[in-house]
């Protein structure tokens, strides 16, 4: 009976990807980054992106294959070939430790898979350097906790009451126990809407109004979730011939109806709308965040703000009620209630925090 291989996780830190990275998006959407991840796929069966400048790799190898060191060297070579000359790679049994090894290792390749290597590396790391917010780090320093080694020496569960959900996450990181499986990029979320017409539509202005009616609810749904559409597909069925499919890639994630509608109409041939459209369907595609990323310590907010973050996440998950902040949009509007709009809290962070909490 074959024994399962011990996990070996690599974290490749390849520097900031500037071109086209959308702030707030958690899924890489740039051709350069996608191409690099594709190239790294030759060395790892699973790649979990960690935007904007890193990714986790599964570097487990069989008895007959190359060693971990050889695979790590190959990964670094690939990253350099794709223009990331200052890449760093951390290799460890768990994702969180691998990430710390890449960020704080003494050389461009830090391997912590040997017995005792993990504890020796984690122990001296200062709490200020592992992503803990400054106030919490100061708070812990007051009681003599300055490094991960200090935290690891505490009895299990000692921090839970004081740091909220961040406490157990920090304890797990200090002991190197964040052994979650790597999760690859999730397929995008696709929302569709269609309408069959009682009459043959041949007016472009009417088509635009119909598109607005179809796109509005879909984009509002995406807006509530804090996502944006990056691709839209329009399918028009005419009286004669098979349906015409028009896919359009949007330049940036958006939830604006006019932007999506204009992009669709611009991509549509002039004569197509004149053929008598009898049915219309739109499909919006929006990238989804990586699920496994949220299990990491690095996304668990700390302190009172962290607790509130979890509460908001749970509220967003269990209720459809609008929840967010009032923003001033039209100071000169005669009606005071029209001067502000309710800008809803995004779903991305909320989902992330919620999953970390559960």
């Amino acid at each position: 009976m074959a024994t399962p291989l011990a996990p070996v996780v690599g974290y490749l830190l390849f520097g900031a990807v500037e071109a086209g990275h959308v702030a707030g998006a958690t899924t890489p959407d740039t051709p350069e980054l996608t191409a690099l991840l594709d190239a790294l796929g030759a060395h790892s069966p699973t790649i979990e992106p960690d935007p904007p400048d890193g990714c986790w790799l599964d570097l487990r190898g069989g008895k007959r294959g190359p060693t971990v060191t050889q695979r790590a060297a190959a990964v670094l070579t690939t990253a350099r070939d794709w223009g990331h000359a200052v890449s760093r790679l951390g290799v460890a049994p768990t994702p969180g430790v691998a990430r710390l090894a890449a960020h704080h290792g003494t050389s461009e390749l830090t391997i912590l898979t040997e017995a005792g290597g993990r504890a020796g590396f984690l122990g001296p790391l200062a709490l200020n350097d592992v992503g803990l917010d400054a106030a919490t780090a100061d708070h812990l320093a007051l009681v003599g906790l300055r490094s991960l080694g200090d935290v690891a020496r505490l009895p299990r569960g000692a921090l839970g009451d004081h740091l909220g959900p961040g406490g157990p996450a920090l304890e797990a990181l200090a002991r190197g126990e964040d052994d979650r499986p790597l999760v690859p990029t999730r397929p995008p979320l696709v929302l569709t809407a269609w309408r069959e017409l009682d009459w043959a539509l041949d007016d472009r202005a009417q088509l635009a109004r119909l598109l607005d009616a179809l796109l509005g609810p879909l984009l509002a749904h995406l807006r509530r979730q804090g996502r944006g559409a990056t691709r839209v597909t329009l399918t028009l069925t005419t009286g004669a011939g098979k349906p015409a499919v028009t896919p359009v890639a949007l330049p940036a994630p958006t939830t604006a109806v006019d932007r999506v509608r204009d992009a669709l109409l611009a991509a549509l041939p002039d004569d197509l709308a004149g053929n008598g459209i009898t049915a219309i369907a739109v499909a919006l595609s929006a990238p989804r965040p990586v699920l496994g990323r949220q299990a990491s310590f690095f996304d668990v907010p700390q302190g009172r703000a962290g607790l509130l973050h979890h509460g908001v996440a749970e509220a967003r998950r269990r209720s459809d009620a609008p929840l967010g902040h009032l923003r001033l949009v039209d100071p000169a509007h005669p009606l005071p209630e029209q001067r502000y709009i309710l800008e809803e809290v995004g779903q991305d962070d909320a989902t992330a925090a919620g999953q970390a909490a559960t």
Binding site: A305, L308, H325, R339, Y340
Partner: protein, 344 residues
């Protein structure tokens, strides 16, 4: 004696097994909290003193109770603004759908720091309240108002006749408030709700049999609220100057603590609510300051610890309205004064 303790321990274990952990607890098991951290300010020094706690209690439900247009919502916004001034995190569940940014900002609420929820059903509203109260990340959580919950759809998946729906909403409210008060226990969040007093109905009950403050939400809220503050309009404040027909500058309201689970009820306060500024903190500080001796009216003007603040009480009011730091100093001094002498 050890046998009796063993029996008690056995009974407690049985209770926990049947009804879940935490069903019984000794009060001494609860973590002690710093007394200064047990309350959030209501925004009014007079009301903070009237509660005899120094503010509105965290971990409990406080209800502002009054007729229409008596200033309940303005008082709620003033408490949220005061909590924000003290560095707290606040949220507002707007069941009426009437909270607009201009009014909130006029009352001193920092809109960037305010989390606003607009539930579309009573079920959603109670769910949001419970989740946000339980998370422990908020200092104050406003609900405006409980009366509007009655008019929201109850969120049932099997809607029935109107009478049935009203009954469902009442049950939902009772259950929701029970869950909410349990979720609040020992937490840092003070839940502040406004509620409408109902007119006395034509019924078979005599006036003596009716409760003095009859409100929406049935009996549930009366049981679950730790603090009930009755708000009663006293007088309309006219715009100063010639021509009283110019309109009202605000409303003077009287506040009475009609229920107090954590202390002695019966405390009263008086505040002015202005149309364009919300709660008039400066007026209250000057009035209470002079009454308590924190401020001294001398021939040259009004002084505080030997420092002249203005030539007249009106001048000090104008100065305090602009100088929030000075107002905070006076408010802190007023809270520390044990008893305010009655003004002749």
């Amino acid at each position: 004696m050890p046998q009796r303790e063993a029996r008690l321990a056995h009974a407690l274990a049985e209770l926990e097994r049947r009804f879940g952990p935490g069903v019984v607890a000794r009060l001494r098991d609860r973590p002690a909290r710093d007394p200064a951290d047990r309350v959030v300010s209501s925004g009014s020094v007079g009301l903070d003193r009237a509660t005899r706690l120094g503010g509105l209690p965290r971990g409990h439900l406080t209800e502002y109770l009054g007729p229409e247009s008596s200033g309940k919502t303005t008082l709620l916004y003033a408490a949220l603004a005061a909590t924000q001034r003290a560095g707290g995190l606040v949220a507002l569940v707007d069941t009426e759908g009437s909270a607009d940014g201009a009014t909130l900002a006029a009352c001193g609420v920092d809109l960037d720091g305010l989390l606003l929820a607009r539930p579309t059903s009573a079920r959603d509203a109670l769910l949001l309240l419970t989740i946000l109260a339980r998370c422990g990340g908020l200092d104050a959580l406003g609900l405006g108002s409980i009366a509007a919950l009655r008019d929201l759809p109850n969120g049932s998946r099997h809607p029935g006749p109107v009478e049935r729906e009203a009954l469902d909403t009442a049950r939902l409210l009772t259950r929701g408030l029970r869950v909410l008060t349990a979720a609040l226990q020992d937490g840092p969040t003070a839940v502040l709700a406004t509620n409408l007093t109902l007119p006395i109905p034509y019924s078979t009950l005599s006036l003596a049999e009716l409760p003095p403050h009859r409100s929406t939400g049935g009996l549930a809220l009366r049981h679950f609220a730790a603090l009930r503050i009755a708000v009663a309009p006293l007088a309309v404040l006219p715009i100063p100057g010639p021509g009283s027909e110019a309109g009202a500058e605000g409303l003077r309201v009287g506040l009475t603590v009609v229920k107090h689970k954590l202390g002695t009820g019966g405390g009263t306060a008086r505040v002015d609510l202005l149309v364009d500024r919300g709660l008039d903190r400066a007026e209250e500080l000057v009035r209470l300051g002079l009454a308590s001796g924190i401020l001294v009216a001398e021939s040259l003007g009004v002084t505080h610890q030997g420092t002249q603040l203005g030539r007249s009480p009106a001048a000090v009011r104008r100065r305090l309205a602009d100088d929030g730091a000075l107002a905070d100093v006076l408010a802190d001094a007023l809270v520390a004064v044990p008893i305010i002498p009655r003004v002749a």
